[in-house]
């Protein structure tokens, strides 16, 4: 069964304290892995697409990486405005829908 698991559920960091969020997946044929950011009261906002193991994408303080079993979202020297819930989703070759993880709630304290 296709599945996506994110950890931790919540992460509290001090401003400037770097860390990583994990997205583990099981899928029969990866079409792509997608990271989104969701702010309270808003819809998810697309961040990155990763297609194959070894691929990396960067945007400001965020870097996403992909292996055959998991993806990491690395946050370098985060700021309070990086606080949000980060969602991971996987697309499988076998169908059109995305399989979503439950998200990691990131809180950056000033």
């Amino acid at each position: 069964e296709d599945q996506v698991t994110q950890s931790p559920e919540a992460l509290r960091l001090q401003e400037g304290e770097s860390s990583s969020l994990n997205c583990s997946y099981t899928v029969s044929g990866l079409r792509g892995l997608f990271w989104y950011r969701q702010d309270p009261g808003k819809g998810p906002e697309f961040l990155f697409t990763l297609y194959s193991a070894g691929e990396e994408k960067e945007k400001e303080r965020l870097k996403a990486t992909l292996t055959k079993k998991e993806s990491f979202l690395h946050i370098t020297a985060p700021k309070p405005e990086d606080s949000a819930t980060y969602l991971c989703a996987v697309g499988a070759d076998s169908n059109y829908q995305l399989i979503w993880g439950a998200g990691t709630k990131l809180i950056i304290k000033p």
Binding site: R31, Q38, G43, A89, Y96, Q97, L98, A102
Partner: protein, 113 residues
Amino acid sequence: DTAVSQTPKYLVTQMGNDKSIKCEQNLGHDTMYWYKQDSKKFLKIMFSYNNKELIINETVPNRFSPKSPDKAHLNLHINSLELGDSAVYFCASSQDLSGGEQFFGPGTRLTVL
């Protein structure tokens, strides 16, 4: 310009009522979706339409009926509302069916009393 818009943003209603949520996208995308996000923030696909054709219809009660009058609009009608329908409903769109890059609307918070 808002890319994906939904109305209303909040909907409070009594059990047994019928309600509709409207969604419009001005991105020229072919594919549109309805998602339900429960209190634990888990996103669950409900329906997907591609060029007005139903593609994905997950295990959703028959009380939920989507309608796509054209590829820029996807509305959701809910009959005989139940307490368990309370959630945030998101509309989204993508360029095509392979669309992992999806654009989401602001959400409609439905509360059933």
